[in-house]
């Protein structure tokens, strides 16, 4: 037995001190109380006013006690469930748990046959979902694109309808408005077995995006109200660009993004106390040469680590970002930027790390980048799992048994641990030169392409219920009728 023995399970990473985090926290409270945000949604402003906020035209300022109360109400830990009841696909959000998945809404996609960049289409959705379902280190699903070949208001409906049957990993659902949010919800609820069953075991997360600086748009608020009313776990994530739509400094960026996110938190908790709420957002720099939002910048990882620490300091899970790149192709830049941001994100234990598979600064989604990052995430996870220290792992007796000039390959101890102590790559090559040569001298890029094509040819996701298939058909028909009527 050990007494007064402290265990560090896994690698610890801490950037900001408690004093610094408190200072950031107070900065957010100050912005919300004295500057406030413009909220372009009448009902949301009424809800905020009733809750104790000060409303002056569009501008809403929130007293700090109300923010603190809302933070208090939102859970730090909760579970999002696999639609098919497969416990391996459940996501348990809580301290020390980092999860990874793609991002939404890229206009382009790398075609899986031709490897060429082209507009994202409806048929790409099942491909992304299947890849997510098969890749061992990808935990949740987004589509990596905006569907371009359907009516412009129905992209998100078709997107969800395409993802849901092709992965049982929880989906983070992006949408345009109330109507398509309702389409999505109908499908998810059908599979869950009704609204009540869904509330007990939510199988997707709703995603809303306010505008920087300091605007809660009508659409973002309307979607938030929908999610809160239906008790759908919620992500509310702004995307300020340092030096453009946010302050140039990392600390200022963190404060503004948190203020934007917590406006959503306050509305959500006023409607549905205890609603699982994941704060954002995506923080990076406006590159002053190319004027792009840099997805491969070190400042992205740094600012994301800062906002993750702030989120955890106040007891909220965070929408992390990583596995993305500014590169246009699957090359060394893509590997460096993607891998480093995955590793850094894993170190922070940011709860849901998205945008894995973004290339060309979020202009092009790529399942090849996604598959390559699956390897980087596996690698990172082996490191963050840390070193286990106990009687058995100390191996003092085994060392005695083997003695000088022996070897450990026959030891039961070796057999017990070699599969769990070591990480085995799926893509990185460790063969000697001759074998590598015999196998066709494949590069990382070749192996990624082969793995993607292999998964797409062979992987079978678990099916949805037949009644849900029917609901999907009905939802799509009704949605088509809706946009025809509007026209």
């Amino acid at each position: 037995m050990r007494t007064n023995y402290r265990v560090n399970s896994g690698v610890r990473f801490q950037m900001l001190s408690k004093d610094q985090l408190q200072e950031l926290f107070e900065g957010v409270l100050h912005v919300l109380e004295y500057t406030g945000l413009d909220v372009h949604h009448d009902e949301a402003r009424d809800i905020l006013k009733k809750a104790g906020a000060w409303v002056d035209g569009l501008r809403v300022r929130i007293p700090s006690y109300l923010i603190k109360r809302s933070l208090e109400m939102a859970p730090r830990s909760f579970t999002v469930f696999a639609r098919d009841g497969n416990p391996k696909h459940d996501i348990h959000i809580g301290p020390g748990r980092a999860h990874f998945g793609p991002g939404p809404t890229c206009p382009n996609f790398i075609d899986v046959e031709t490897l060429e960049r082209r507009p994202y289409v409806k048929d790409d959705v099942p491909i992304v979902a299947k890849m997510v379902d098969a890749l061992p280190n990808i935990d949740f699903c987004e589509s990596l694109g905006t569907v371009s070949d359907v009516h412009h208001e129905l992209g998100a409906t078709y997107e969800f309808a395409g993802m849901f049957p092709n992965t049982s990993k929880p989906i983070v659902a992006w949408s345009y408005s109330w109507d398509d949010s309702a389409d999505i919800h109908k499908i998810a609820v059908a599979e869950a077995g009704g609204q009540e069953a869904f509330e007990k075991r939510p199988n997707y997360i709703h995603y809303c995006e306010p505008l920087s600086p300091l605007v809660s748009t009508f659409e973002a608020m309307d979607k938030l109200v929908f999610a809160a009313r239906h008790r759908v776990p919620l992500i509310f994530t702004p995307c300020p660009l340092a030096g453009g739509t946010g302050p140039v400094t990392a600390a200022g960026m963190i404060i503004q993004a948190a203020a934007e996110s917590w406006m959503g938190l306050t509305v959500a908790q006023a409607i549905q106390p205890g609603l699982p709420f994941i704060m954002g957002g995506v923080l990076s720099v406006l590159d002053m040469n190319s004027m792009i939002l840099a997805y491969g910048a070190p400042e992205l990882s740094l600012m994301m680590a800062g906002i993750t620490e702030l989120a955890h300091y106040v007891g909220l899970p965070v929408w992390q970002t990583g596995g993305c790149t500014d590169s246009k192709t699957l090359d060394e830049q893509a590997a460096i930027e993607g891998s480093l941001s995955c590793f850094f994100s894993a170190l922070t234990a940011g709860d849901l790390c998205h945008d894995v598979g973004y290339t060309e600064s979020a202009m092009t989604g790529s399942v090849f980048q996604l598959a390559m990052m699956d390897e980087a995430i596996g690698y990172s996870r082996r490191i963050t799992r840390g070193i286990e220290v106990n009687e058995d792992t100390l191996a003092v007796d085994v060392i005695r048994n083997v003695g000088p000039n022996g070897h450990y390959l026959y030891e039961k101890h070796t057999h017990r641990y070699y599969k769990t102590e070591f990480w085995y790559p799926n893509l990185c090559d460790r063969r000697n030169f001759e074998e590598w040569s015999e196998m066709g001298r494949m590069t990382m890029r070749d192996r990624v392409v082969a793995r993607v094509q292999d998964i797409l040819a062979s992987h079978q996701p678990s099916p949805i219920k037949p009644e849900t298939e029917k609901v999907i058909r009905e939802v799509l028909e009704a949605a088509e009728d809706r946009v025809k009527e509007e026209a």
């Binding site: 000039n405 070897h407 390959l409 026959y410 070796t414 057999h415 070699y418 599969k419 001759e434 074998e435």
Partner: protein, 213 residues
């Protein structure tokens, strides 16, 4: 109901050190031909182990357990093989060359070769060229295997081959080399007959050298 041969291959693949000798004994008790137990049971299992390793479906510690269980089976089988006049597929003399004290790799290759059905004479490590020459004269092996772990000691492989040539024994044996710093080009340069990049491929090579693969 699977045959004893099938069950033997299965327990070899599983690396079950206890069950293999028991099953061999059971086969002998039931009057099976010792050579058949070897060829249709044990070696079939080891061949599958080699194939799975090559595909990446088995790991080295598992392969070694299979080889170890193969050895345990051979312990029981060997006297009966000899009594029945059956021949093993070949004889190998093996050692780590002069100046090199590392013998893990050589031991692994040795085990795999035994698993493949060879008779093994292990000369140990830090073996002088003359020792190799004497062993060839004494045991008349089909193959001489040499291993080195260090770039500083791999040259001793060349000297050893030279000593074997000078003793007029080079055409009596096939020579295979291996070890971390060794590659196919080096093997060719020093006049070896083959190079194995890991333990299972070393055993494969040995089989090829005696025309058994």
């Amino acid at each position: 109901m699977s045959t004893i041969y099938e069950r033997l291959s299965t327990v070899i693949i599983e690396g079950n050190e206890e069950k293999v000798p028991k099953l061999v004994q059971k086969g002998l008790d039931e009057g099976l031909v010792p050579k058949d137990i070897l060829d249709k049971g044990l070696i079939v299992g080891m061949n599958e182990v080699g194939a799975r390793f090559k595909r990446g479906d088995m790991f080295v510690p598992e392969v070694l357990m299979s080889a170890k269980s193969m050895q345990a089976g051979l312990e029981v089988l060997r006297p009966h093989l000899i009594a029945s006049g059956a021949k093993l597929i070949g004889k190998i003399v093996m050692g780590t060359v002069k100046g090199d004290l590392h013998d893990i790799c050589k031991n692994l290759v040795g085990m795999m070769c035994e698993g493949a059905g060879f008779e093994l004479i292990d000369l140990g490590f830090n073996v002088e060229p003359e020792k190799f020459v004497e062993a060839i004269k004494e045991y008349q092996p089909d193959i001489v295997g040499m291993s080195a772990l260090l770039t500083t000691t791999m040259r001793a492989m060349g000297y050893t081959i030279k000593a074997i040539e000078e003793a007029g024994l080079r055409d009596k044996v096939k020579i295979m080399v291996g070890g971390a710093p060794v590659d196919a080009e080096f093997a060719e340069r020093i006049g070896a007959d083959g190079y194995g990049s890991n333990a299972p491929s070393g055993a494969e090579l040995a089989k090829r050298l005696v025309g058994a693969a």
